[in-house]
């Protein structure tokens, strides 16, 4: 009797405790860069928990989402912004478009890898972690008799010529982080040399970040540089693909934030709490989603070979990602990559092919002159028109700033003018490198 009363009281208490939440009503508009597989799963689960709330997912590419929130700030109708790239949230935060919120749910540690999970200023929260790596198509690799690539440096090898792909950092926030990670991990000159050696093997630079997993999945090219969940969810969807984290990678949180002046703040808060709750974190393991939860306890439910950054400390530990350094040169790196790689890919690939041919011929052949020519060709390809110090210089960066803050802000130099100078030098370098490599071949 006593027991059933206690049980009844407990049930009543639970009902009472949850009733203000389940009485939540109205709509919730979330601007998100995530595909329907992710959004519908969370939308359905959330609406089941809060039947009074109607969730509207508004799908935008990250950059388009930022632009949308900027353009509509005067008459805002959106409640939340939900996307991967932390720097997108930084942009919105510095534009004063986000609202502070403190999370109630417990169990989430401060850091994943070397990265703080939540914005230290309280504007946005991490709900999952993402690392960067290489995915490859096993059928393709088998048909072309290629080894599985495990490290970034593997992708430089001549065997992968014409078999790999990546998106451009200016097109994809996550790719930007990959580029920056490698530059931070290896240093400016070595980092760029690495990227150019990898890019010389590219089949294509895709316009959308999803273009890379799409290409690998369908077998248009063999290997691609991607964010982890692209690889993991493709595999879970049945495609013959594998994914691996190279040593030099970083783990960063994927985030969610409440938009400033959100019309439905209560529902927005409830969504964040739901996302970070045990239930929400477990949803991330869904085969169609496959993202790394930020609650370490959730990994107990993960499939056997699922990566666990809280246990496997090697994931994302090699580079201590410096967000300030990244911020200081964000646009310069995007622009450099586009000028030197995206838009000059054909020239770069032609130079790389010539160099690889020369190197293959040189192997086992002692010819100092040819070796010298090849080294010169490498140096020409690797040349970067900007030094690390200059790339982070404030005045220089202003030329590439997304927004002229005030009408009286004075800046000298135009982006188009500078890019033209870079382009002229780069194109000439690639051509010269190709000539030198061909000359080396003729000597052998």
């Amino acid at each position: 009797m006593r027991r059933s009363t206690a049980f009844g009281t407990a049930a009543l208490l639970i009902t009472l405790a949850s009733s203000p939440a389940s009485a939540l009503e109205g709509s919730l508009t979330i601007v998100t860069s995530y595909p329907p597989d992710t959004t519908t799963t969370f939308e359905e689960a959330f609406e089941k928990k809060y039947p009074g709330v109607n969730v509207e997912m508004l799908k935008k590419k990250t950059s388009a989402g930022i632009k949308y929130l900027q353009e509509t700030a005067g008459n805002n109708k959106a409640d939340m912004f939900w996307a991967s790239a932390p720097d997108a949230f930084e942009v919105l935060k510095s534009d004063n478009l986000l609202q502070k919120y403190s999370v109630k749910v417990g169990g989430i540690p401060e850091k994943v890898g070397a990265f703080p999970i939540n914005d230290p200023d309280g504007y946005y929260k991490g709900f999952a972690a993402s690392g960067y790596g290489i995915m490859w198509n096993t059928r393709y690799m088998k048909a072309k008799d290629l080894p599985a690539p495990k490290e970034w440096s593997d992708l430089k090898k001549a065997v992968y010529f014409g078999h790999t792909g990546m998106s451009a950092p200016s097109r994809s926030g996550t790719t930007h982080l990959t580029v920056e990670t490698l530059l931070q991990g290896l240093g400016w000159e070595k980092g760029w040399a690495e990227w150019k050696a990898i890019a010389g093997n590219f089949k294509t630079v895709t316009e959308r970040s999803f273009g890379v997993p799409d290409g690998v999945n369908s077998g248009a090219f063999g290997a691609g540089i991607v964010i982890d969940f692209f690889g993991l969810s493709s595999q879970a969807s049945g495609f013959p693909v594998e994914f691996a984290y190279p040593t030099v990678t970083t783990l960063v949180p994927a985030n969610i934030a409440i938009v400033k002046n959100a019309p439905n703040q209560e529902a927005a808060a409830a969504f964040i709490e739901f996302l970070l709750s045990t239930e929400g974190q477990e949803l991330l393991l869904d085969p169609k989603i496959r993202r790394l939860p930020v609650n370490p306890a959730t990994y107990a439910k993960a499939p056997a070979d699922f990566p666990n950054p809280f246990k496997d400390k090697s994931i994302g530990a090699a580079v201590k990602f410096d967000l300030d350094l990244s911020k200081s040169r964000y646009n310069v790196i995007n622009s450099l990559f586009d000028v030197m790689i995206t838009y000059r890919l054909d020239d770069l690939v032609a130079a790389t092919k010539a160099i690889q041919k020369a190197e293959a011929k040189l192997a086992g052949n002692n010819n100092a002159e040819a070796a010298k020519l090849i080294a010169e060709a490498h140096a020409l390809v690797n040349a970067v028109p900007v030094t690390a110090a200059q790339a982070s210089e404030k005045d220089f960066n202003k030329i590439f700033k997304k927004k002229r803050k005030k009408a009286d802000t004075k800046v000298t130099g135009r982006q188009a003018e500078i890019e033209r100078e870079w382009d002229t030098v780069t194109k000439a370098n690639y051509e010269k490198a190709k000539e030198l490599a061909e000359k080396a071949v003729s000597l052998l």
């Binding site: 353009e71 995007n334 135009r414 188009a416």
Partner: protein
């Protein structure tokens, strides 16, 4: 109004003012807001031409300009080769299944973005079905989809229906008496075609070819999906969307795209200048249809089937993708399933009804506006009438993203009175964007149609006492009906797969049209099949719509033919 307008000009003038107002509000102002940036010094905000100087000095932009021009010209050529036999055979000969062929010939226009390229890659890509087979059996591969050639191939398959539709309408409008006279004078075969039939159908051909040229010139989707970015439109898009507002080059390129498109329209007008294509006698209805000998029939069918197989191959690929489980580095999918259709069926109904509603209203508005503009330009002496044509045509060259940003910028703080929502996030703005984007298609079709209607017919009606309004309603519009229908079909079909402008304007998922839904699905590994299924549903819906409208117009043509015959019989 103080303008000295004669009473007959008042109606068209009023219509002209309304059309102008619409174009100003939803095309000129929003685009001007964006284009303004092209003339702004990025550092000081002052007016400048330095951005244009930057453009013309940059080797990448020069290269892009040349590539865009080359790809457009080659696409017109390839499109003509594809469209000419289809149009000619189906209008010239008694041919079983002509309507079906005409309909199938329009289907390529409604290839939804993204899925089309995915399907093409799976079939013709470096490791697509065809190359895998070629490699296995012959040890060779053909780079169909590589670089500029890939763009030309996909663009031609995608846009040749512009030539097919306009050329067929023009061929149907040629008076059979012309052909008969030529035959009586001894012309036949190729000579008849070259000297009589083709010249008389020039307005239709030029209208179609100009559309293909301009459309390819500013097309974004295809080069982007093939990752060819050294062309103008992708350069503009990539710069606008990744660098942002402070960098003016994207806007400079947009201005250059608009300017160049206007130039090519002007050239196409020049080509037709001082030539009269109108024929007085009407009611005979189209080119004389000849019966074919058996071997001729076999030959014609063979040509038609080969062409259709080729241009519909992306759709076969799409269908396979929508039924396939996993399709990866293989000639065909691993296994087949109905799951993808089951999955989209729940969510698709809303996308479909939205699309039919939006594209239907947009196409209707388009033919109304286009008929009005065509009439004003070709039949009145109103001041500035040519500009109405130029401005409406310029919409063709405005990249969708630019229009979308312009709308957000212009109308976001404008709340609509009763429903209390910003105009920029109300679904009607999507319809307006579609209307503006597809108006040039309807306009070229209607202009070509009105050029083939002789003024003498109107004068005759007026001499018999009909008012101007009655003449337009009873004579001009019925005689233009083929062109108007062609305009409606192209506008509707292409608006229903419109993505680039709507992607900026969809404010609620419940307002989203099909193309947006497909785009969403195609961004995840598990969404490829459902996205393809949604694409097939879109193609089916628009295809059926197109077929029905062809049947209707064919029926009304026949009805008119019969009534003329009866009238002629009675007169004898």
């Amino acid at each position: 109004m103080a303008l000295p307008l004669s009473s007959v000009q008042r109606g068209p003038a009023a219509a002209g003012v309304l059309i102008t107002l619409f174009l100003l509000l939803f095309l000129v102002v929003p685009v001007a807001k964006v284009v303004f940036v092209a003339f702004q010094d990025p550092n000081t905000g002052a007016f400048t031409l330095i951005n244009f100087a930057d453009f013309f000095r940059n080797s990448l932009f020069q290269e892009s300009f040349f590539n865009s021009f080359y790809v457009s010209a080659m696409s017109v050529l390839l499109s003509t080769i594809i469209a000419m036999p289809l149009a000619y055979f189906t209008t010239r000969f008694n041919f079983g299944g002509a309507i079906l062929i005409q309909t199938l010939g329009v289907i390529p226009l409604i290839m939804p973005p993204f899925v089309g390229a995915v399907a093409m890659q799976l079939l013709f890509g470096a490791n697509g079905s065809v190359n895998l087979l070629l490699d296995e059996h012959l040890g060779i591969t053909i780079p169909f989809m590589r670089g500029l050639n890939g763009v030309i191939l996909v663009e031609s398959i995608h846009y040749f229906p512009f030539i097919l539709i306009n050329l067929s309408a023009a061929l149907n409008n040629i008076d059979r008496a012309m052909e008969e006279s030529a035959q009586n004078l001894g012309a036949s075969g190729l000579r008849l075609f070259r000297r009589i039939v083709f010249p008389l159908s020039m307005p239709g051909y030029v209208a179609g070819a100009a559309l293909v040229f301009i459309k390819v010139f500013d097309d974004l989707g295809t080069p982007l999906l093939l990752n060819v970015n050294n062309m103008l439109a992708p350069q503009a898009y990539l710069r606008v969307s990744s660098i942002g507002i402070s960098d003016p080059m994207g806007y400079v390129i947009s201005v250059i795209l608009v300017g160049f498109s206007l130039l090519s329209l002007w050239v196409s007008l020049l080509a037709l200048k001082n030539k009269d294509y109108a024929t007085v006698q009407k009611g005979g209805g189209g080119l004389m249809r000849r019966d074919l000998r058996t071997w001729e029939k076999v030959g014609c069918y063979a040509v038609v089937i080969v062409i259709l197989l080729f241009v519909l191959s992306p759709h076969f690929g799409l269908a396979l993708l929508s039924f396939g489980t996993v399709w990866s580095y293989a000639v065909l999918p691993d296994a087949y399933t109905f799951d993808h259709y089951r999955e989209v069926f729940g969510s698709a109904s809303q996308y479909i009804s939205n699309t039919l509603l939006y594209a239907g209203i947009a196409a209707l508005l388009d033919v109304i506006l286009a008929t009005g503009i065509a009439y004003i330009v070709w039949r009145t002496k109103l001041i500035g009438r040519k500009w109405l044509d130029y401005v409406a045509s310029a919409a063709l060259a405005v990249p969708g993203v630019v229009l979308g940003i312009g709308y957000l910028r212009t109308y976001h703080s404008f709340d609509i009175p009763i429903i209390d929502e910003p105009l920029a996030s109300w679904w009607v703005i999507i319809v307006i964007a579609m209307t503006i984007r597809r108006l040039p298609y309807a306009l070229r079709a209607c202009v070509a149609a009105i050029q083939q209607v002789s003024v003498m017919l109107e004068e005759a009606a007026e001499n018999l006492g009909a008012t101007k309004g009655r003449t337009v309603w009873r004579i001009v519009i019925p005689l233009m009906s083929g062109g108007i229908l062609a305009g409606f079909v192209t506008s509707f079909a292409t608006a229903s797969v419109e993505l680039s402008a709507t992607i900026m304007l969809v404010a609620k998922n419940s307002d989203a049209p099909l193309a947006f839904g497909i785009y969403e699905f195609m961004q995840s590994a598990a969404g490829r099949g459902p996205g393809a299924a949604l694409g097939i549903i879109a193609v089916l819906f628009v295809g059926i719509g197109t077929y029905i409208s062809h049947v209707i117009i064919e029926r009304s043509n026949k009805a008119r033919e019969q009534s003329t015959n009866v009238a002629e019989g009675a007169a004898q």
